[in-house]
């Protein structure tokens, strides 16, 4: 791969988007295997794994996968650890509804910034140290929860713990150093989905730990504080595992590797420009705020909602709330798979329709959840809502790699930030005011449906959009023209756009069944990737 180590967006380079969501392996001769390498899994010329064996712990590839998703999972556990214990915390700290809501907003806001910094940290120190640094420096913030005495302290600690969600970046970056680009889509999607499950697992873990501590004689106001030691220890343990068992690259750690000097470095300002001036970027930033964003918001409010509305005890409410987050195990990959499936027949137009359908259905079920008056109906609505929202997250990243080739990394980063921003916004509007949580959920559902409509405006000249078919113009309707338009003449003279042309050729599958009609471009010689 000619991408230079550490250039912006390099962590997503190689994600062509053409990967089938369930492509478990890459066959030779599609990608030749390096037979001289002595790894447990078949590897390519860069020693990246060509096979994704989920239940293996083979060093270094699969071991890295497990270390990576587990550390991301741990950060989700600690960020949302307070949520199922809010009924106790609100009494101990004398919190009002706005205090609780604001702390929820704070818990997702910190990582908007920390994610941006994490990219640079991974470039400088490598993903292993990037991950370990964040997770072990965040451990004191988790332990600090035991000191909190007021609403202000509660908000500050939740804000600081929330920084640790930037492990998403180290997780994805680390995967891209270990796995071949043709399977990176599945690998990254699985790692992200399994990490997100932490938001569900914590709703189960924390009330259980709390009950155990109470049974051993503690008061409720002490028990919840002691319970926070569990996510704190998880941080320390996973940090140490990452440091002792992990390595940055298949052949060793970052310091030992020589940099490739042949590919030209791209300019950050240019990459940023093309990301920011592409209107599709902003539509997806908005959209992800209403799939991932509402998922995070719901993680923060759902346990307390069931506790109060249906008079359940803490661990029953936690169990139900856990079902929401744990659905990520299958729902997110399902979304990616649906996107790929639709693309086989209808190309990009299919992907867009699938995304709109899944996300809007999520919104409808969210409306229903707020209006449900009996427990069985509320649980049903919640599960359907979780599937809709999480599958929409998976479907979103089925489309993102096609928005831009040059600025893929930044667009992915901006989209991720949009998710957190949407979470902060929805918690502020719907769950921090005197509106009841039930009404908040229903109105959030309405907002989801409204904010998903803009996907109808996404139009690719070469493939079409939800409502309009592809352009009939011979020039504009080629993938090459779309992706080459991100480079100016001078850059094209230098041949900097060759990667994009290669990508364009690979992306012809997004025409769906019209592939046969695609004209072959005459003047491009694809570089060896």
């Amino acid at each position: 791969m000619a991408g230079v180590e550490g250039s912006p967006g390099s962590s997503m380079h190689g994600v062509t988007g053409r990967e089938q969501s369930f492509a478990f392996s890459v066959t030779s001769p599609a990608v030749p295997t390096d037979t001289t390498a002595k790894f447990d899994l078949p590897v390519d010329s860069e020693h990246k794994a060509k096979v994704f064996k989920v239940f293996s712990l083979a060093n270094p590839h699969m071991r890295t996968f497990h270390l990576s998703w587990i550390s991301f999972f741990t950060c989700f556990v600690s960020t949302f650890a307070a949520a199922p214990l809010v009924p106790i915390i609100r009494d101990n700290l004398n919190l009002t509804k706005s205090d609780i809501g604001n702390a929820g907003v704070a818990s997702v806001s910190g990582s908007i910034f920390s994610r941006l910094v994490m990219g640079a940290v991974c470039d400088l120190l490598g993903p292993r140290y990037g991950c370990a640094f964040l997770i072990m420096l965040a451990a004191p913030t988790v332990f600090c929860m035991s000191f909190v005495n007021s609403a202000g302290g509660y908000l500050a600690v939740r804000f600081m713990i929330g920084f640790s969600l930037a492990t998403f970046v180290s997780c994805q970056y680390w995967m891209s150093t270990m796995f071949n680009s043709k399977i990176i889509g599945l690998v990254n999607g699985t790692a992200a989905g399994w990490g997100n499950m932490g938001g569900g697992a914590t709703q189960l873990i924390m009330p259980l730990v709390y009950q155990l501590i109470k049974r051993s004689g503690s008061t409720s106001f002490s028990a919840w504080r002691i319970a926070f030691f569990v996510p704190g220890w998880l941080h320390v343990i996973s940090g140490i595992l990452v440091l002792t068992l992990g390595q940055d690259l298949p052949d060793g750690n970052l310091g030992a590797l020589k940099k490739k000097g042949d590919a030209a470095k791209d300019k950050f300002s240019k990459i940023l420009w093309y990301a920011v001036t592409n209107y599709r970027t902003w539509i997806f930033v908005l959209l992800y705020g209403y799939s991932m964003g509402v998922e995070l918001s719901t993680d923060n409010v759902i346990a307390e909602y069931f506790y109060d509305r249906f008079d359940l005890n803490l661990h029953t409410a936690g169990l139900i709330a856990a079902c929401f987050g744990m659905a990520n195990l299958v729902a997110r990959p399902f979304g990616g798979y649906s996107s790929d499936f639709a693309a086989r027949y209808f190309g990009m137009r299919g992907r867009l329709w699938v995304l709109w359908t899944l996300q809007t259905l999520g919104g409808v079920f969210c409306i229903w959840l707020g209006r449900a008056n009996t427990l069985p109906i509320a649980i049903t609505a919640m599960i359907l809502f979780s599937i809709g929202a999480q599958a929409a997250c998976g479907a979103t990243f089925g489309i993102i790699p096609f928005i831009s080739r040059r600025s893929l990394g930044i667009i992915s980063g901006l989209t991720g930030a949009g998710g957190n921003f949407g979470s902060g916004l929805t918690q502020l509007i719907f769950f921090s005011s005197s509106m009841s949580t039930a009404a908040g959920l229903s109105w959030m559902g309405v907002m989801i449906c409204a904010c998903t409509l803009p996907v109808a405006f996404v139009y690719f000249p070469q493939w079409g959009g939800m409502l309009c078919p592809a352009s009939k113009d011979v020039v504009k309707s080629s993938e090459e023209s779309y992706y080459a338009s991100e480079w100016d003449e001078e850059e094209k003279q230098k041949g900097m756009h060759q990667q994009s042309l290669k990508f364009a050729e690979n992306s012809r599958s997004e025409r769906g069944k019209r592939i046969a009609s695609a004209p072959t471009p005459t003047n491009t010689t694809p570089n060896h990737v």
Partner: protein
């Protein structure tokens, strides 16, 4: 009675509680003495249906503000005003005028402003009468409770220890690996 509003005309008890105005009760430590009795002006036989009496600690409106989980609702089943039970005992018709109970404020009672309410129940466990320490608007003679913080010195020390352990082991690893790196060059 299913609705509290139907009880309003049946405030049959006179209730007083021990804390002086301005006194703050400490959770787990201080005691509160509640004295209640049937209103002497009522006709005889008013209390013939009363079988059990429950005395509860209830949130005053100032502690319910912006806290929907403590909301006062007319339906007795859904009402969340009075979560803490002080005592639950059979109605003593022999001693109607002066019943009392001494109760130590439990350690899970949160910091808030309260009043005390007494409910009388009939044989079917329905509320049939009540009385409270405060007026109808729940603004006078309120009781302040200051809860325990839940923090302990041991907890604080463990917190600091594990935090330091995390930071120092990270620094240690980093330093050792940098030195190994330098040595091998």
């Amino acid at each position: 009675m299913e609705m509290f509003s139907s009880l309003l005309c049946r405030e049959h008890f006179v209730v007083t509680a021990s804390p002086a105005p301005g006194q703050v009760l400490k959770g787990g430590v201080d005691k509160i003495t509640v004295i209640w009795g049937l209103n002497q002006t009522l006709p005889a036989g008013t209390d013939s249906a009363y079988k059990t009496v429950k005395v509860k600690l209830c949130y005053a409106p100032v502690s319910q503000a912006d806290r929907g989980w403590r909301k006062t609702k007319d339906s007795m089943k859904k009402d969340k005003t009075c979560p803490y039970k002080i005592v639950d005992r059979p109605y003593n018709s022999a001693n109607k005028t002066s019943q009392s109970v001494e109760w130590t404020v439990k350690r899970d009672v949160p910091t808030a402003t309260y009043f005390v309410r007494v409910y009388a129940f009939d044989a079917d466990e329905n509320e049939v009468a009540y009385g409270q320490t405060t007026d109808a608007h729940k603004t006078t003679t309120l009781i302040q409770v200051e809860a325990i913080s839940g923090r302990h010195k041991t907890m604080d020390i463990c917190s600091i220890f594990f935090s330091a352990f995390s930071v120092l082991s990270l620094a240690g690893f980093f330093y050792i690996e940098k030195r190994k790196g330098k040595r091998s060059q």
